[in-house]
Symmetry: C2
Subunit: 137 residues, 2 copies
DNA sequence: CTTTTACCCTATAGATTTACTAGAGTAATG
DNA sequence: CATTACTCTAGTAAATCTATAGGGTAAAAG
């Protein structure tokens, strides 16, 4: 299951990407139009900012804004930031690899074999989908 | 993340599929060779039995065995039984569809659009992969 | 009638997710 | 300089899910 954190994060990013100009948008605005708990959204936007996706401006007229062109933001980045590993199992993860405790031989493991295929496919989709692609109606 | 339930279930099924004959195999045997908590495995095999994948035999010489040819068991069936929905979000699920509470227009929703692609791809893999495919070394 | 094995129910520790609360810090504006 | 409008931070509570353990029952075989 996709966490709400990721879901909300994507919605917020798309919200920003759909706007013409890149001037700061307040959390409360996004929160209201996208039906997201404001405080929860706050922490999500914070992690997006800390990881170079968003910029923020404090004080009056402040808010969050995209740092890059939506075309330059692939979903792999967003997913890894918010959701974590793209692979369903650590033993087939590129960025978060971990050996299974129970598995003797990874090459003979059916789960590994299956999930590797799934990961390859999913990764391909996320790589080839940018924020701009998702923002078209 | 794939639950251990599903992981163990697949391992157990592959274990059975790799055997020549279809005579009953004890839980304890599978549990030991696959490094799975016996009690946990017990409940997993039970649900597989209740859903027509496995048969069981009580008493001496008893155990679990496959009811069908591994070629006839697509991973869609196994995944839906053990893991639940294949889609990462209920609003793109075929078998477990549910409307998002927060989402006004599903067609305009970026999360929906993205996850639909992922689901289609993943589903295709699971459909085209049978237990037999996973059982080859 | 004893052994062996599946079957079934309950409980629980731990982790994770989601969300709320309360306030501190910072910048623009009149 | 005071006010207002924001972001930022931390702590925490509730709810759910996960993985496992324990103990007892029922059926089959010899």
């Amino acid at each position: 299951m996709l966490s709400k954190k990721t879901k909300y994060g994507i919605k917020a990013l798309v919200h920003l990407a759909r706007l013409e100009d890149r001037s700061p948008v307040q959390i409360s605005t996004i929160s209201k139009t996208e039906n997201i708990s404001q405080k929860f959204l706050e922490s999500i936007l914070l992690t997006l900012r800390k990881n170079g996706i968003l910029g923020s401006k404090k004080g009056k007229g402040g808010g969050y804004y995209l740092l890059k062109d939506p075309k330059e933001i692939p979903m792999t980045t967003v997913m890894r930031l918010l959701e974590g590993p793209i692979a369903m199992v650590p033993c087939v993860s590129l960025n978060f690899y971990e050996k299974c405790a129970d598995c003797k031989d990874e090459d003979a493991c059916a789960v590994n074999k299956l999930m590797l295929k799934v990961r390859d496919n999913t990764l391909e989709i996320f790589r080839n989908t940018t924020l701009a692609d998702l923002s078209h109606y």
